[in-house]
Structures are given as structure tokens and as C-alpha cells.
Amino acid sequence: MVALTGCALLPFVEFRANRIVSGEPESVLAAGIAGWVLVAFVVLALAGAVAPERARGPLLLAAGAGSGLALLWALGVAAVRLQQGAPAIARVSIGPGAWLAGLGALVVWFAGTRATGSARVRRTAGAVALLGVAAVLMWGGLAELSIAREYAVQSRRFWGLVRQHLVLAGSGVGFGVLIGIPLGVLASRNRVVREVGLGVVSVIQTIPSMAMLGLLIAPLSALGLAAIGTTPAVIALTLYALLPVMRNTFVGLAGVDPGVIDAGRGMGMGRLQLLVRVEAPLALPLVIEGVRAAAVLVIGIAAVTAFIGAGGLGILVFQGWGQQADDLTLLGAIPMVVLAVLADISMRGLRRLVVSPGIEEGAVS
């Protein structure tokens, strides 16, 4: 509903004479027929919301994917139409109406995945939606949008920054796992580590990221290390990754049924055998969940480390703010969201791959 009204009332796209001046609003109807298709899918979503139980899931999936694709299409059509005859430096930005519609499409899509019982239907719908997105991107209408133009300008730098961002976040999570898992294991064995360790790590978590980078300056200089650049960035990210990994490892191990441990000990397993053969596999779902949370968290925080010269997508965001070029900011922000979503999906995939079907809900019939 919100998405519908947003789509209708708020400016759908904004036309600007150049990159920086404020734009003139245009409604969704600027997209012509594509705009009407979008409206039709929004109506379908409403129908899906009130549909009977069995039809609801697929209907919502179709509406979510359909309105999302129609939105992209409409954006492209509107951009192409508005750019016609305009000077090369004119820009067509995505307006608040389109943002709301996009958000609405995502909400409808995820409501659909939750309402759909069959994994096969979900997977098919996902594949179709992905193919649709690929098709719209290939069509090229979107290239007329401002954000795509920013990309065209930045393209050489862009992928380097993505890689830098991945390296930063990846090292943070990697070190976080290397330190956090052993700390979690120790916490489950030792009360002092548990109380002191978890306490310290939780306090670290509450330090705002900017403050953290500032706080790191003193100890790093004392050690003779550079207080700006990649090293402090990775240290800060590692510290943030620590809590989810350590706490989940601890909670996972502490949650292992004492009867199972007693049985293992009673059958002659040593401490290490018990850990490797029994406790670790049982704690694994929670550990992976911790790594997933850490990855999503750290991909976000890694943006801030651009401030101390560590690079990454944060650079685009900050430059965009500095130049008041919103679309440059978006060019940094959207890939971060995509990276976070990809990290999330791959950790879920990993979990499905390595966790025993004996302890996953619904894994065995």
C-alpha cells in the first residue's frame, strides 16, 4: 500500500540539467506503458496479500519479481525518454517514488518466499527473477540513468574498490574467525575466559566505528605501526567480527546436550575427540551463523575505514557526499548491499553443505 501511494504521489524520477543542481520531479507516467505495467503488478501484490493460503506464496513471488522488474524497466524507459534531446551533462536520477516502489517489491518478494512452502517453487522463482534482472540490464535502458553514468565514469576505479572492500572485510572476518573460534572454545571451558573475554568483546562491539579508528591510533603508534591505512582498518574490523563469532561459538558449545557429552565421555572419547567429533559438529550451525553475522556487519563497517585511507567502496560514498553527487554515493552504497547479501547467501549455502542433516530442521523427512 505504502509502495503504491509512494509510487503514485512521490516523484518517480528527477530530471536535472547537470549532475549537481536540484532536479525537476517527473511522475511514474513518464515511463509510459512500463509505468502502467508496474502499477498492474502492484495491484497483483495487493491481490496476493488477500489470496487464500495456497495461492498466496506464488502470487506474492510473481508480484514481487514482476513489480521489481517492471520498476527497472520503467526507470530505463523514463530515463531514455527524458534524456532525448537533453544535453549530455543532464542527469536522470532515481526519485523517492521509485525507491519506495523498489523497497515495496523486495518486501513483497520476501513475504512471498516465506509464504511459499515448496523449495522448488522458491528456487524456480528466484532463477526466473535473476534472469529477468539480467535481461533488463542487457537491454541498456538503465545505462541512461545517472547512477549508470557515474559508473561509466568510475568504471576503471570501481572494480578495484570492490576488490579492496572485499579484501578488507574478508581479512576482518578471517582474523575474527581465527581468533574468535578458539576464544569461544576457551570460554566454554573456562569461567574466567567466559566472563572476562565475552565482557571485553561485548564492550568493543559498543564502540562506534569512527571512535574505534580514533582509539586505535595511540596503541598502534606505541607499537610503531601506522595509524592510518590498511593495518588499523583490518584490526578494527577484526575486533568487530570477534563478538558474533566468539559468542556464537560459546553459545553453540554450551548448548550441547550434557547427556550427549556424558555418553561421549563414557564411551572413551578424550577431550579433543569429544570436541572434534561431537561438540564441534553440534555447535556448527551457530558458529556459521556467527560468521555470517560478522561478515554482514564488517562489510558495512568497512565503508568507514575509507576515512583512514584503507580504500574500499567507502571512498565512493564519501566522495559522493563531498561533491553532493547522490548518485556517486549510491554507486558506492548499492554494491555494499549486494556484497552483504551475497555474503549472507553464501554462508547459508555453506551451512546447508556442512551441517549434518540430523540437526537441521526440515533437512530429513
Binding site: D257, G259, D262, A263, R265, G266, G268, M269, P357, I359
Partner: protein, 386 residues
Amino acid sequence: MITLRDVTKSYGEVTAVDRVSFEVPSGEVCVLIGPSGCGKTTTLRMINRLIEPTSGTIEIDGRDIMDSRPEELRRHIGYVIQSVGLFPHLTVAENVATVPKLLGWERRRYEPKALELLEIVGLPPAEYAEKYPRQLSGGQAQRVGVARALAADPPLLLMDEPFGAVDPLTRERLQAEFARIQRELRKTVIFVTHDVDEAIKLADRIALMRAGRLEQYDTPETLLDHPASKFVHDFMGSDRALKRLGRACVADVMRTDVESTTDGTRAIPREACTDSRFVYLTDESGVLEGWVDCRVLDAGTPPEDAGTPVDWREAAVHPETTLKDALSRMLGFGFRNVAVVDAQGRLVGEVSLAAIEATMADADTHIANLEEGEVLGALPDEEARS
């Protein structure tokens, strides 16, 4: 053989086990019983060194358990607990193979062994080997627990209330099955329970504990007939004649020459009921489906209406059912006869109230003789003793 000498375990002020000594001969089942908190679990767990005794010695076949590494010791002692403790992330077959793997057996040795044990505990491997523990019922999980404890063929088995967490009917079946397996395998077993009937049914000897002390250690018959103290007498219960029926099973008194027919009720001529009152109806493979009461035929009911269809799972007993359970089943149904079927429901015989009564009469005269004589009179007075 396993020997405990003056074994004591103290937790600070609390003495959980207080100078307990007893000996379990090889191949016998010793049941540890007593009120909650009397130290049964502590005693049991000292035998595989999950708990270290404060003082005293424990020997297995003459070797002090302190001479071997705890892990090594435990791999040669089967261990079953009430919470079962199956590893949820492993399949049933993998669970069973745990100890053999720890011992370094090769796959081609432990795999067939695991399947064989599943068969022995009554879980067809084809159906159960690849299941995960959460797909099992409580009774099935407990069977897997027993199979797992037996996997490396340990001579000694420690069981802590293994059937404590299942419903009474399942427990009865598990007990019967345990008795059958034990007859075959002849392990030395130490078995903890709360349940006097279970102890009487399964024990060669009962060790009755109270507040950390061993109150009496003897055969179930002796505990019933010659209680060493009022506590033992009260703990074992007053219905001793009935309890004794827990020592005998249906197979001991059932008759196997029962009349049965696969032709349904129609074909039963009156002559079929010459010397038994019931003619049992079975299907082609012999599975009990019902019976005909010949007196109903006599009363002139047409044969096709005389049959009573039944489900053998509810209305029959097994050869290994104790007489006590058979009796309570009969009283429950209000029958003087009950059919006996095997595990698949095939009719194997019939047990009558009269046959059970005869057993009871033997026991009664036995007890009556004892009661007239020394036993009750000689009961040590509780207050005077302590």
C-alpha cells in the same frame, strides 16, 4: 568379575557413597536399586572412572581400574544412560559404530557389526541404519543406545536407568528384549533402576542401597524372603507373592497345544472345542486375529457371530512377558485365558489364570512356611539396629 572394596565418594561434607563393597560374578546382572539420591549413579560412574573414588578399590577381573587410562578403560565398558545421549548429527549406524571407530577398527569390520547389532536389538538395519536420532521414538532411541554400548563387544555393561524415560508398555518390551539379549550374550551387567519390579525381573543379584550405604546384596528371592532389615522389607513391598511372579515368564507356564484355525469363524465345528474353551483365529501366516469362545457356540450363537476380533498388540502377551504382567493383563481384560504371540503376532500358545495361580500357590506355601518360621520374627528391629 567385578569387585568393589570399601569404595567411598565424598563431596566435601556429603558422603555420596559410603564404604560400599560387593562383587559381581562374570555373566551376571547386578541391579543397583534404592531411593533417589542414595548413590546409585555415583557408584556406577566410579566403575568407568567418570567419577574418581575418594577411597577404596575397584577391580575388573582382578585388575585395578586405576591401572589403565580412563579413556582406554571406558572403551572396554559399555555405557547406557537414561537420557540415551545419541549423537544427533550421526546416523544410527554411525552412532553404533562410535566405540569401534575409537578403537581403530576398520570400516569393513565395524560396519557389519553395527548392522548386526541393530538387528539384535530389534531395529531392522535396512530401515533404521541411515536414520538420524531425531527420527526415532524414545524406545527406538534406547535400543540404539544399547546397540551402541554393545558394539565393541565389551565384557562389562553399565546401565543407568536405561528404560527410565519410556512409557510402561515400551519399557516392558525393552526389559523382555534385554533379558533375551542377556541370555545370549552373557555380559556382566550393572544396572541402575528405581523400579523394584524391573529389578526383580532382570537381576541375578540386587544391591539395595540407602543413603550411600549398601543395605543388602543378594538374589531377588532372598531380598523378598529374607530381608535384612525393615528398610529392605518395606522397600521391596508387601505384595511379595505377586512380586515373585515377576521372576517367572509366560513361556514357563503356557500351553502350546492350542486350537486354532485360519478358516474364519464359519468353519468351526462344535467338535473343535473338545478340551479347550477357546479356538483362536489366525491369518495364513499364523498372526492372531481373534478367537471364538466355545461356550458362546454352545449357547446356540451361530458360528459366524461367535468370533471376537482382536488386535494382538493389545490383547495378547509374549512368551517373555512376566507372569506378573500377564496376570495384570488378564485382570484388566477380565479373561481367564490369554493368547501368547511372538514378536510378529503369530500365535504360539495360551496362558491361563489357573496356571499362574498354580505358580503362585507354590510361592505362597513357600512364603507361608518361611513366615511361620524365622523370617519375620527374626527381622532386625530398625531402631535397635541404628
